[in-house]
Amino acid sequence: MLFNSLQFIVYFIIVTLAYFILPHKYRWFLLLCASCYFYMAFVPIYILILGFTIVIDYFAGILLEEKKGKTRKIYLIASLCANIGVLAIFKYYNFFNQNLNDFLGLLDSSTPLPTLSILLPIGLSFHTFQAMSYTIEVYRGNQKAERSFGIYALYVMFYPQLVAGPIERPQNLLHQFYEKHYYDFERIKSGMMMIAFGMFKKVVIADRVSIVVDHAFGNINSQNSLTILVAIILYAIQIYCDFSGYSEIAVGTAKVMGFTLMDNFNAPYFSQSIAEFWKRWHISLSTWFKDYLYIPLGGNRVPVRQWFFNLFLVFLISGLWHGANWTFIIWGGLHGVYLIAGILKEKYFPSFMKKFASFPAATYIRMLVTFALVDFAWIFFRASDFNHALQIIKKLFVFSFDGVLNFGLNDNEMIFSFALIILLFFKEKFFLKIDTSNTKVFAIVFVAIVFSCYLFGVFGQKQFIYFQF
């Protein structure tokens, strides 16, 4: 069930109304059933995979709390292996098998392993990581094991964030299922506004600029450097509006029912360095990797070489998390290299960096350079394979401007798209919040946004980009 579908809107109304009508003690059960239905609306049978990880981690949590000594570590490892095993089979098996085959092909041999014809269960990486954070936190003693199987299942399956995050921590979410959420009109208005604005970002901006991006990247040979450059810039906008739009709908949906989920974005394209970018982009994932991989590896409290290795490794794995394709690994690797280069720059050119900082336009130059680096890496994220990415880069850097400019949108729509993007950035730069405390203003703005979504939205039930992960 896609957030940008009528089915979701009607489903959301039904679930939310039922949630407030039902007595508190039955609400968790309603949310669990609703979440199961939400997930099964994609491919019903995949609920079994989700069920498998839920059962494993539920019992692992209890055993981790009850046992002492080395046994705990064994249970933790077993639980993590089960989770990673599911990911390995459903997401990475065919990728590794293909690469092994390619390698053995060089030696005139081939792997006897069959290729599995399986679809990737939607949002697998998201809910697996959320489940893993639970067992790790129980192991660390930061979270008590959840004794209610239903509540634990709901923690993994809570429908607003089930398929594309935010990846929550048990300390933030689990206790909220026990709290009684009263009908609060102010909170509902605020949540509804988030949903409307997230929808606007998705259907009016992301899906509109995706026409330019798909047009350019789908037909590289008939493009010139300018159309490719515009498409690359617009892809950065598309993926941001698509994913942050999704996150706002998720957070808003939960908020209407009284739940608080973590913010996933904080104006990332205003970052002045790659390190800052990762504090503002997909915050729930970057903090997950920081808490559960980077710091356990030693973080920056290790010799410099080891530190750089840790950074690079974390970003390679982060790339692989996104998808079983070399393009994602390269994308992650590039970010790792950017981060290391940023550290080296500060270390070896401190006086230059100090002088540069006093330059009046330094902030904007930093932002621009950071955006350019991030955007260059997006080429690999968007490309269907490595050769496609190389084709895009070649086309970009031949600086050929021959041929008729064709963006896939007419001039008016291109101007309209850029006007929307400028407005969005203006809102984010100056932290403009839509005031919902005045009900009349809320009603007018809400209706205006919804009506704009309808009038200017590009509909076609385009899936959210991050659903595939």
Partner: protein, 352 residues
């Protein structure tokens, strides 16, 4: 009070969701709402399916329905008429009263799970019509086994083999997770005559400001009518303008001959092919480089199956036979085809 209102709204939306999940109810509801001239009436197909996709107000022409002329029937009906068809013929019901000398009439629709089993009655003339629109030829006749599955001999077939026999789990799954639910919800929530002006406003903004229409629709070169995009987009095999190689034509001919032989062996005495041209192939073949698919099949010397040649008749007066805002022919186009079919049925009837 708040709780009561919430409860009423909950019941209302649950009912809408429940109804929208139920295909059989929707099938009954939709024709009624398309027919009725009231504020709860639906406009989606009132002015043609292409208007229903695009909602462009300048292409809002009502669909005029006529009663096709019925042929003079003989004293006894001795033709058992079977038909594989698509929406060009399916939309005109009941067809049996419009056909000459037909005793039994059974039909199945391409891409629908309504396959039929035939009990061959050798005392009658078994007649099979394979009707197909130009846009479906390349996909349907690429696979003979699919065509064979549409009509089977009931003496040789195990009932469980029929694709229309769903398991209980599949039925439940289709109901609970209905893949058509978004279209059904749109129909139940927003397909009302009073919403049409808003839809037209959106369509107008998109066309006049952004030069875009619904992706399913293309405007003709003279701006007088709408075409179905799938019949224009040269990247799709449904298009009149997608290049076709000789070896693909040869494969289609081989498959058609195999289908002809298969049904002859099954006991059909007369088998006819009828290709209905895409509107653009008749009205504006110069829109792009027309691939001449119909002529290439019908004029192929290796083709064994007899055919009804409607293409050249339609070409004689192109703008008469197709709606301006629908992807199908109008009643006049259908009648032209029906007359040709009845001519064959009379000939067949008198041949025994």
């Amino acid at each position: 009070m708040k709780k009561l209102i919430a409860f009423i709204v909950l019941i209302l939306f649950s009912l809408i969701y429940f109804v929208s999940s139920n295909d059989s109810f929707m099938k009954k509801l939709a024709p009624y709402r398309y027919e009725v001239n009231a504020f709860w009436g639906a406009d989606k197909y009132r002015y043609g399916d292409l208007f229903g996709f695009s909602f462009l107000p300048q292409y809002k022409f009502p669909i005029i329905k006529k009663s096709p002329v019925k042929p003079d029937q003989p004293d006894s009906s001795k033709i058992n008429f079977y038909c594989m068809c698509d929406s060009y013929v399916w939309g005109f019901t009941p067809l049996d009263s419009l056909l000459f000398g037909v005793n039994r009439y059974q039909r199945t629709r391409w891409r629908y799970g309504d396959d039929i089993s035939v009990n061959m009655d050798s005392s009658k003339i078994n007649f099979l019509l394979i009707e197909i629109s130009e846009r479906n030829i390349r996909s349907i006749f690429n696979d003979t086994s699919y065509v064979y599955s549409k009509i089977r001999n009931s003496n040789n077939v195990n009932k469980q083999e029929f694709s229309s026999d769903e398991t209980v789990i599949q039925k439940i799954e289709r109901y609970v997770f209905n893949p058509q639910i978004n279209q059904n919800l749109e129909f139940n929530l927003f397909d009302y005559s009073f919403f049409t002006p808003v839809k037209e406003l959106k369509a107008k903004i998109n066309l006049e400001l952004f030069g875009r229409t619904d992706p399913e629709v293309k405007i003709s070169r003279n701006k007088e009518r709408l075409f179905y995009s799938a019949t224009i987009d040269s990247g799709l095999n449904t298009s009149s303008f997608m290049k076709i190689e000789d070896n693909e034509i040869d494969r289609i001919i081989v498959n058609l001959n195999a289908i002809f032989k298969h049904y002859k062996d099954m006991g059909f005495k007369f088998i006819y092919l009828s290709i209905i041209p895409n509107p653009v192939s008749v009205i504006d073949p110069d829109f792009a480089d027309y691939n001449m698919l119909i002529d290439k099949i019908q004029n192929n010397k290796a083709l064994q199956i007899p055919y009804l040649n409607i293409y050249h008749q339609l070409k004689q007066n192109p703008s008469l036979y197709y709606y301006k805002t629908d992807s199908h022919w109008n009643y006049d186009g259908f009648e032209l085809w029906l007359a040709q079919l009845n001519k064959e049925l009379i000939r067949v009837y008198n041949s025994k």
